[in-house]
């Protein structure tokens, strides 16, 4: 009894166009089939009572997605965000106990899911913006780890440097994006009107957390290359070689060391 009750309740709650529409589609416009299921009364019929839950279900998830993907919601507008949330929820009903994770697969859905193709046509940059905002959310409550200090680095013996492999804090995300969605996020953070995005332009963004505050910045191609290599576990010697390829042998160690100093300052690196 309980099993059938909950499955039917859930099916009505999550029906894409509401309880009334679901009943009409099933040939029961009057909701007569609800008689042995839920009870209405003189004040309100059973269909309308179920609609309260159905409306709350969608509104609650839309609210969380709008908070977690603030710039995306601002750029899509109310109706656009509504369309995205509806399509996404149909493809990926929430499966994690915490509503905090309800948007975890939104970026991948917008980027790769065949069902999201119409959304990509309307907003070709939407997956990139969702990736950025997913990274911001992940960075907010990623695990705390002891950080690598400048002093610890300075105490490293010279012969240890070539083989030095860096460990990154769990909050660090490096995003290679096809669209300059940075402008949309910046506009959102300034509470400004989102600029139109019509032309793709690759950019690399770095997301991290320092002093409990989530930060992000666009980075230049060489720093992106070094970070990517370091994140993949390449030793410091290899980072210098990468820098040398772009800057020449003379300038490379200095650039690699400056980059490293900045990463330490920004709290990107975990203690060894």
């Amino acid at each position: 009894m309980l099993d059938a009750t909950q499955r039917r309740f859930a099916a009505l709650l999550t029906a894409p166009d509401g309880v009334g529409a679901a009943l009409r589609e099933a040939g029961d416009a009057q909701g007569a089939s609800l008689a042995g299921f839920v009870a209405g009364d003189a004040r309100l019929d059973a269909t309308s009572r179920l609609e309260v839950y159905a409306n709350a279900y969608f509104a609650r998830i839309l609210d969380v997605l709008t908070q977690d993907f603030g710039a995306l919601a601002a750029a899509l507008g109310r109706e656009g965000m509504n369309d995205v949330a509806t399509a996404y929820l149909l493809a990926h009903p929430s499966r994690h106990f915490s509503i905090r994770h309800v948007g975890a697969r939104l970026a991948a859905y917008l980027a790769d899911d065949p069902r999201a193709a119409p959304l990509r046509v309307r907003w070709p940059w939407c997956a990139d913006l969702a990736r950025l905002e997913t990274a911001l959310g992940d960075a907010f409550d990623a695990a705390d780890v002891p950080l690598l200090s400048r002093e610890a680095l300075a105490a490293l013996p010279p012969d240890a440097w070539p083989d030095l492999r860096l460990h990154f804090a769990p909050c660090v995300r490096l995003l290679r994006l096809a669209w300059p969605v940075r402008t949309l996020r910046e506009a959102f953070e300034r509470d400004a009107t989102p600029p139109p995005l019509v032309t793709p332009a690759p950019e690399t963004l770095l997301v991290w957390r320092r002093d409990e505050s989530v930060r992000w910045r666009a980075i230049l191609p060489l720093e992106a290359e070094l970070l990517e290599a370091a994140l993949a576990g390449a030793p410091f010697e290899a980072l210098c070689a990468t820098a040398a390829g772009a800057l020449g042998e003379a300038a490379a160690p200095g650039y690699a060391a400056e980059s490293l100093a900045r990463w330490v300052h920004d709290a990107l690196l975990a203690a060894q």
Binding site: L2, F37, A39, A46, Y57, F97
Partner: protein
Amino acid sequence: MRPTSPPRPREAPYLGVGVGLRPPHYAEVLERGARGGLHVDWLEVISENFMVPGGRPRRILREVRALLPVALHGVSLNVGSVDPLDDAYLGELDALARRVEPAWISDHLCWTGVGGRQLHDLLPLPHAEAAVRHVAGRVARVQDRLGRRIALENVSSYVRFAADEMSEWEFLVAVAEAADCGILLDVNNAFVNACNHGFDARAFLDAIPPERVFQIHLAGHSRQGPLRIDTHDAHVCDEVWELFAHAAARLGRVSTLIEWDDAIPAFDVLAAEAARARAILDAVCAPCESTSPESRRAGRDAA
């Protein structure tokens, strides 16, 4: 025969009147709490908000806990569902409880998802014997897993099931007795349901066994057509204050908490609601306490 205080659950001593801790108040609570200027006695947090790997939420909870007693209030136990209990959730709840050492742990007498799909809402159960057996067995397993009794809260609802065999309060008490768990009595929810389903909220409150009540919730609600909706976005209404006084007269001093989850006002607004609840408890409960053998003895000792 003079009135005496009713029996209390051993694991739920009276903590006073508290408020639900929500993100807009984190910084203020820490700042004022450190200098004793909060004017609330304890805090309740939503367990799931702190089931995160790290960052600000975990630090805040650690520091808040150092200031005041904290109770963990969950929304995802899904104890009424026909789905298997979520081991991952219970593991995280257990780990959180070990970190926080809460006064107690509570969740809701409801289901929140089925078939692996989470609906993120506190959904009602049919008030039927089969549901009592189903839920009670699961609550017992949760309590075994956590190594403590938990409290279950009565939820607001907007439908009744054709399969109902008993009143909501009979259902709540039957589950609590069968599972040997506590009750988190939400007076606002009892009132909302009384309005939505046409019963006397006092009948609900009068049926609750005092020895199982860990805590009371008070909150505001809104109207939507003929229904009252449990929105937690307003002051506690007059009818609910009256019902709270009625409950306090029967239950004695029970730890009481103000919930406010939407359109969250300044912390002082919550503290003022807490002060009003405290004044009601003092007015209603003090006469009984002053004539109880324990308080007479305490009075003699103090003298």
